[in-house]
């Protein structure tokens, strides 16, 4: 497989221009064809089960120095078939098959001479392709303005998407046809600090459900986003076409490149069975194997957090002081007066540690522990946060020793206020401080407008920065959970210490008006394809008016559904987001959170329809237990749980955490029941789900 790009191209130079070329997936389900049109522009098309999914669509890159868009002839091709498997450090499967046929199309143009390879990998569940620019004869530097990759669909399909934005992905999902898109996008107000892309522009990952009686589902995203900006999609609603829209920096440049260079893979996960979209490991397969040799220190975890307290009302604060309320802007931190409602204090953190220790929760995240929150979003300072300077009421030494004694780790929080430039300057010191104090996981945050001020959250420089942070963390054997970072593209395969990211509208929005139940039926089809999400499930007190602090937000969920999310939103860094006192009110339900693993040897998607429902079974990586989770949208539903995934002849006890018959996320979210029954591989269970509800099951072999 490993050949020098250059030598391949040289070899092919002698060959005269070729006709169109094509390749099928190993089983023949998918087929791509590649050609150059009359202008010498490379085009590709995609068939699935003999039907055209993508009509001829242009390929190319457009730089100030050179255009790789037209004048090309195909001067050669390479093909090969690969069938191999690999074992992730953590994930939904303990073994992943990487099975594809590859077609590398070598292109050449003259005046000036340019060579480019487009490499396709066609799997039975989709494909990826990328541009490879080998070393050129003349100029090897590019100031990239544009990538002109098209994805031309053929009908007014149904689309599932969030608005295009250079800085954030924390949106709710729209489900519309191409034609209906402008109205849906028009409903979004501009994000206050972000730069929403104007026009019919959406983000990846997004999902397409083709029109017609036998719909095909297509997840469109990218894999291995390294040294390149994130991709948005310009949508031509009249012709049903998408075109890549690279996130530019604030000077209007998409990427500064040096050849040889390969772009990220443009990925299409394709199936007429929606469950296959969820099961696909295609994006991971298109990423490089782990670059971390010793991964023994990478440990999936459940964690709680001094965090939700700040979302339950207006009183608890990340900031130690309220001085900033009277007067915006604080510079003299030595003068701060305690506001008396700062949860990141030693005593309170100890309570969380105690609770975590008693309930087998591995770690406690503490937000608001370090100086800087009084004016954290100022965008005016060269330095906002020091990552080794705690507030006076947070005793790092005492908590280090207390955590050790109780066998509970602390997770550090590095909110950067989006000053990535300054975070870089502090990074080694911050990580050393963590190691010195027994922290081995960090949640990073980039809230606000990015510094360096030339950058967006998803422009090339920030893509590099966030990966640099994950790599540097690995040097210190630190695990990373990135928030407000570019949406994931499977890089956690290559850097498995990068356990999770936010990169979508997460559970925190349950306190800002709520997430509709359908939201978590979309995320696994889209956002999760690139990597796990720190969604923060486990919300038991779903009605925030409970706190009597002016909040009226109601979460779009039943309590039982929150347990199901541990299965439908798998993550090796999984939160139990609610307050200890709320868990103490529902200890039988909390038992599921105590029990549920965060790492799996196998997963079976039993039912799935985007924006509607998901039912999934997963096998614990370290026992013979299985777990099932099912969720629905705001409609009640009966999930069909076919236990045929269990080994034949073994009997199991099932503990079922379900919505009570009168449960409803709107009116009675905390009504749940716990019951047990026995099952075998022959059992088929009709499991009712309340509106906005869900079910979680623990399935234990009977000894």
């Amino acid at each position: 497989m490993k050949k020098s790009l250059l030598s391949v191209v040289m070899l092919m130079e002698a060959i005269s221009a070729m006709a169109s070329v094509g390749i099928t997936s190993p089983s023949g389900l998918l087929r791509i064809d590649v050609d150059v049109d009359s202008a010498g522009t490379p085009v590709y098309s995609l068939d699935y089960k003999g039907k055209q999914i993508i009509s001829p669509s242009k390929l190319g890159l457009n730089a100030d120095e050179t255009k790789f868009t037209d004048g090309f002839t195909i001067i050669g091709t390479d093909t090969c078939t690969v069938d191999r498997s690999w074992q992730p450090v953590w994930g939904e499967y303990s073994n992943i098959r990487d099975h594809f046929r590859e077609l590398a199309v070598h292109l050449k143009a003259n005046n000036p001479e340019r060579v480019m390879t487009v490499r396709f990998r066609v799997f039975d569940d989709g494909l990826g392709f990328r541009y490879e620019l080998p070393e050129q004869e003349k100029n090897n530097y590019l100031t990239l303005r544009d990538e002109v990759t098209e994805f031309n669909f053929t009908d007014n399909h149904t689309l599932f998407y969030i608005p295009g934005d250079y800085d954030t992905d924390e949106y709710l999902w729209s489900e519309t046809t191409f034609k209906e898109m402008p109205e849906a996008l028009g409903n979004y107000r501009r994000h206050s600090e972000a730069q929403r892309a104007q026009g019919n522009i959406i983000q990846t990952p997004m999902l397409i459900k083709t029109a017609g009686d036998t719909p095909v589902y297509v997840n469109l995203h990218e894999a291995a986003l390294v040294g390149y900006p994130a991709m948005l999609l310009d949508v031509d609603i009249d012709n049903y076409d998408f075109k890549s829209h690279l996130v530019p920096d604030r000077l209007g440049v998409s990427a500064y490149l040096q050849m040889p260079f390969a772009t990220p893979w443009r990925t299409l996960i394709v199936s007429d069975d929606a469950r296959d979209i969820l099961a696909s490991q295609l994006i991971y397969n298109l990423n490089e194997p782990s670059k971390i040799a010793d991964t023994s220190w990478i440990k999936p975890m459940k964690f709680m957090g001094v965090w939700w307290e700040m979302f339950t009302g207006n009183v608890k604060t990340w900031a130690y002081s309220d001085d900033y309320l009277a007067k915006p802007g604080i510079t003299d931190y030595s003068q701060l007066k305690s506001n008396g409602h700062h949860p990141a204090n030693t005593e309170n953190v100890k309570k969380y540690i105690d609770f975590a220790s008693e309930h087998g929760i591995d770690a406690v995240l503490v937000e608001g522990w370090n100086e800087g929150w009084e004016d954290w979003a100022s965008y005016r300072k060269n330095r906002q946060f020091l990552f080794d300077k705690a507030y006076p009421d947070f005793d790092v030494d005492e908590l280090r020793e207390y955590g050790k004694k109780k066998g509970v780790k602390l997770v550090m929080h590095h909110e950067t206020a989006a000053n990535a430039a300054d975070y870089a300057l502090q990074l080694d010191r911050a990580f050393q401080f963590m190691k010195d104090n027994n922290y081995d996981a960090v949640k990073t945050g980039y809230v606000g407008a990015i510094i360096p001020r030339s950058e967006h959250h998803t422009s090339q420089w920030m893509v590099d920065h966030v990966l640099d942070v994950a790599k540097r963390a690995a040097d210190y054997q630190i695990m990373v959970d990135s928030h407000e970072a570019p949406r994931p593209t499977g890089l956690c395969r290559t850097y498995p210490n990068w356990l999770a990211q936010e990169s979508a509208r997460g559970g925190e929005f349950e306190s800002f008006g709520g997430n509709p139940p359908s939201h978590t039926t979309m995320l696994p089809f889209t956002r999760l394809k690139g990597g796990p999400m720190d969604y923060t499930p486990g919300l038991f007190q779903t009605d925030l008016s409970y706190y009597g602090e002016g909040k009226t937000s109601k979460a779009g969920t039943t309590l039982a559904r929150q347990l199901a999310l541990y299965l439908t939103m798998p993550s090796p860094m999984q939160m139990a987001c609610d307050l200890p006192e709320n868990y103490e009110r529902f200890p039988d339900a909390f038992k599921f959170i105590e029990d549920v693993p965060v790492d799996w040897s196998d997963s079976k998607y039993l039912e799935a329809e985007p924006n509607r429902y998901i039912t999934v079974a997963r096998k614990d990586k370290y026992s013979d237990d299985w777990y099932v989770g099912a969720i629905t949208d705001d409609n009640a539903r009966t999930a069909m749980v076919d236990f045929s995934f269990l080994p034949v002849g073994v009997k199991y006890d099932v503990t079922i955490y379900e919505d009570a018959p009168d449960a409803d996320f709107r009116t009675n979210p905390q009504a749940y029941r716990i019951r047990t029954q026995k099952v075998t591989s022959k059992t088929k269970l009709k499991q009712p789900l309340a509106p906005g509800g869900g079910v979680a099951m623990r399935i234990t072999p009977i000894k």
Copy 2:
């Protein structure tokens, strides 16, 4: 002296609007008057010896959020007199008097309410003033667009200046009147990678020589540039006025500020004796005392460098490989083939160490030791240089041990290719690598366009970055010599490990067409007022055609003048720039470089005229020896050396390194003579200087 800004302002609120206020310098030589005009704009004027130097000139700051430009009344003033002295870690003097009268003018405006203090310190050799924005009642964040400080002169004076530029100061000096400025600026082509400010815009430090029979010299610059962009000057040639022009970032913002905040000091060094301009320590006095408590590790040094070899012709390279010549852009450094003419190799560095050890030179700088030079100016890479990855022919371990054995330090080179963002990410590792390998000084470089791409070399972010680097270096007890950094403003008082900067057209230009002799008669009047320069004197082989490698450049200097520069361009980090083999050809002349100190207890400027000549005497800090240096422009001159600076009654031997009678920088630069004579404090010596020549003297008491 230390009062809370806020409390002062509060105190003054009760006082009704005041009439104009004024203050004189301690001896009464200078006087400033401050008032508000009919629009409520603060104005100041400056008199020197009873004559107006600066007519009423506006003061103010202009931000998106608030304008601090008009509507003001004076609500109070504070005055005080300070007379104190301090002892620098190194410098031209071992004791510096800081003697001034201070006037703080407290201003208030309504609708919206704004408070501002303008603080003036008036010394007998000039003044500084700055804006202080205390915490405001409402908004405390500023997005600064403009500072409207005016310096309104009164006649068509002679000006000495270089063009305004956001990215570089490596220009030759113009000497013109206001009226002649456009023609002089028009002669400069745009710097290839920098963004030259368009229009009649010049940089500070610059010098004014007033018109008339009794000219007054005024150096205009700034002190303590921290958290703010560098200042250029917009010039109104019709009205003889300057107005501050802050360097913006590429988004057009000058500074992001949070109050309370104090700007840098705007400084005017004023005297009718040009020698006072050279002697003035005003800019240092306006900087904070050392923030480094233990300065015992800061050691002024002389150093040589594997460096000039790369300037003598087209053959020797920083790069290890020539592959980039055939094909621009290299990414795979593991494949490099040695070009055989890479001076930063172990064997060659040892030769320099040997020479330095034999001749009492403290250290050897090595440029081109680390990977990345093959495409170092690409501006395309996230990472250009690794600061702990040597080229294969540079053996870090072997040279560490060899240097230790020989008692010679190595100076590390950190060329960043202007990727300051990535340098920040590597900084701790780079400095730790230095300490691990016995380096305690670094030369930093920022050649090219800055990354972060929002920034210029002298915009606010880079000002912060370069100071951050100096501070971080101090944490590792590392001394810093910054190249391509914002021009210095006396911060080396506060951070005395920041030994030197380039920040002007240095000796390297002798290989790019040469520096005219007048250049080094200007730098001490301008550039050097902010801090020492790594000018790289000591060039003995001044005609580069000597190397027979296509170079024809001739340096604008005689050999003797090069020795004089060690006195006229004082620096605690002073290079002997030429090749060991050239020094071996002139061992008697090199003896002066061996002997000359780099740290002084006293300095006496004997003669001076900008752009013409300088004669200075300095006393060694660690012996009773004195040294004299004198230089002229391209005209021959007779320097008058009045030895009355010597203690009365002591006899001295003087060794004089002078131009030979037939010396001329154009035709016979290497003609020098060394002679000795005896002197006392009564001696007056007429010392001929050749065109482009100079003289250096070592004066030793006869025991």
